[in-house]
Amino acid sequence: MARYLVRRLTFAVLLVFCVSSLALLLVGLAPGDYASELFGGIGANPALVAATRASDGLDRPLGQQYAVWLGRAARLDFGNSLLYRRPVTELIRQRAMNTALLAIGALLVATVLGLPLGVLTGSRRNGGTALVRMTSILLLSVPPLLMSLLLVFLASRTGWLPVGGMTSAATESGFGLGTSGFSGWTMWARDVAWHLPVPVLALALPISAMLERLLAQSIEDTIGAPFILCAEARGLSRRRLLWRHALRVALHPILSIYGLIIGTLLSGSFMVEIITAWPGLGRLTYDALRGRDVYLVAGCAAAGALFLAIGSLIADAVQVAVDPRLRESA
């Protein structure tokens, strides 16, 4: 078990290191830099551009910049953002929390919707399950990019839900003015909860459809297995048979993809964040890339890789907990 943990942790550290380094070097090698983007290409005052470059240390060779960054990153100091003039870690901590809120919410919604429906559609055939099946195929064809556009349209047409951002301007200012203590916090939380449904659903619905389809297929395969026939012969009730015996086995391949869903959530949340103006990592990464803010890009990449590593660790742990065979070999 210890060896296994060490191996996974090494993998996680390597992933964060490789991804952030690659991002930094790629953006560093890209034509144009922070200074040239800041002042706009043509007609910029060359002296001003050169001065900005020198003051931020962008005039040094890329190898040297990378070495300095690496030395600091090893001490968990990811430098200052060029665009925002604030420490990268501080900027990212805030945004990463927002993205995590969105991603975890979407994962919960997708699981709660997708898995029970998958058991139903996998185990019986009638009008209702045909409808669920068809809805799933429709939802699978609406990636988060389209789903968030659609939901923003519906929300703004009906006026039922706010269409953008994470908080209302009023709450923001009220909170800033120091509505003190508990009531201020609950107000903020209620406001965020009010803004959550649109982005969370945009992210969750396609994934729930995917989970439903996969589990339905898995259940269908499992129900044909001899051990189910045997359990049925022993006189188990249909409900117990399905939810206890078949589900445990059928869930296994589904659990193995949960680690990968983290990547899908991150990918999907990028467009959702852009369209619904959710202040998360996606928007920050995009701004950093456009502004050629090398340190911020590297920081965002590191944060994303950390998400992936943590997600896969949790997914693994769940899988080991469910399947005793894995515990033996690990």
Binding site: G263, S267, T285
Partner: protein, 345 residues
């Protein structure tokens, strides 16, 4: 399940023909701007005017308020449609009152026509990139499967790393690392290259698995014992076994790449305005006001949905998909069979 397959194929054939016949089907040129019709609503063809049936006509839009972009139908005058003239299937007989089936965009251009021309860009890009990804993926997968050992290990670890990373971000970083302002034809080629670079691992993993197991079967061993060299063994005997898998991958990659193009263009890193692509057209729907007041600007989103649905219907009805274990929902960038994050059991 056969019905869903037929529906899916029909959708794709119709869209494909629409893209090919765009210059004939589009009533207006892709870059024709109607200055008095910015964000004009769709013009629907009518048949009955003042109680008598005609051969098809439209009512022109009259600008009521320029500030609010509000239009009113001018019911007093019917503008007849002319069929088969000027190389177009159908168009309005009056140049100032164009036929715009899906309304106008922010520049007063015909969205329906641009959708057809955009299909050429978007679908052309997605299909070309898919071919590239299939080619690279098949080659790498076959090499890894036949060679085995260290080469296999190296190539597959690389593929697995690529699969774990969130695809959108990889594409974004790769695209952002290149010059931001480029000519459309270069953007096209760059996006093909980037998408192929992101898509190959999904193909390579599957091909490698099939090749590695097939090469131990009797027919492959027989071919080897008859003196077939590695290239012959690979191309003549092993790769044909992957044909079904590759076909399924193609139906998954094309819609994923269509969405990827839309994503890049939407955030301004893909095609930019004069070029009609589904992604660049979707930029008109980039603020809440436009989405709410002029929902027809969402037409490209509808087009992407329809094409993705077509592919999904085909994939869902494909026989033996679940057995092959290659089923992966299109445009979600996820392969349930890739278990690289699982401890080796």
């Amino acid at each position: 399940m056969q019905l869903t397959r037929i529906v899916g194929v029909t959708i794709l054939v119709v869209v494909g023909l629409g893209a090919i016949a765009a210059p004939v089907l589009a009533p207006n040129a892709a870059d024709a701007r109607f200055r008095n019709l910015l964000y004009a609503p769709p013009t629907w063809p009518h048949l009955v005017h003042d109680g008598d049936v005609r051969t098809g006509f439209i009512y022109r839009w009259r600008l009521v308020s320029r500030l609010e972009q509000r239009y009113e139908q001018d019911r007093s005058q019917a503008v007849p449609l002319t069929w088969f003239s000027g190389g177009k299937l159908v168009r309005s007989s009056m140049s100032s009152a164009p036929l715009m089936l899906l309304g106008a965009d922010s520049f007063g251009r015909d969205i329906f026509g641009r959708l057809l021309f955009g299909a050429r860009t978007s679908l052309g890009l997605a299909v070309t990139a898919t071919l590239g990804a299939l080619l690279i993926g098949t080659l790498i997968g076959a090499v890894a499967g036949v060679a085995g050992h260290a080469i296999d290990e190296l190539l597959m670890r690389l593929a697995e790393l690529m699969i774990v990373l969130p695809t959108v971000y990889v594409v974004l970083v790769l695209r952002a690392a290149l010059p931001l302002e480029l000519a459309p034809s270069i953007v096209f080629m760059l996006m093909v290259a980037i998408f192929a670079a992101v898509g190959w691992p999904f193909v390579a993993r599957g091909v490698r698995g099939i090749v590695a197991s097939e090469k131990r079967r009797e027919y492959a061993v027989a071919a080897q014992s008859l003196g077939a060299g590695r290239p012959r063994l690979m191309f003549r005997h092993l790769l044909p076994a992957c044909a079904g898998f590759i076909a399924v991958q193609a139906t998954l990659l094309v819609p994923a790449f269509i969405v990827a193009e839309a994503t890049l263009s939407y955030v301004g890193l893909g095609f930019s305005d004069p070029v009609a692509s589904w992604g660049s057209m979707l930029r008109d729907a980039s603020d809440v006001v436009a989405i709410t007041e002029f929902p027809w600007t969402l037409a490209p989103a509808g087009a992407i949905f329809v094409v993705t649905l077509g592919f999904n219907l085909i994939v869902q009805s494909h026989p033996g998909i679940s057995e092959a274990g290659s089923w992966r929902p299109a445009a979600c960038g996820l392969n349930p069979e890739s278990r690289e994050l699982k401890p080796e059991a």
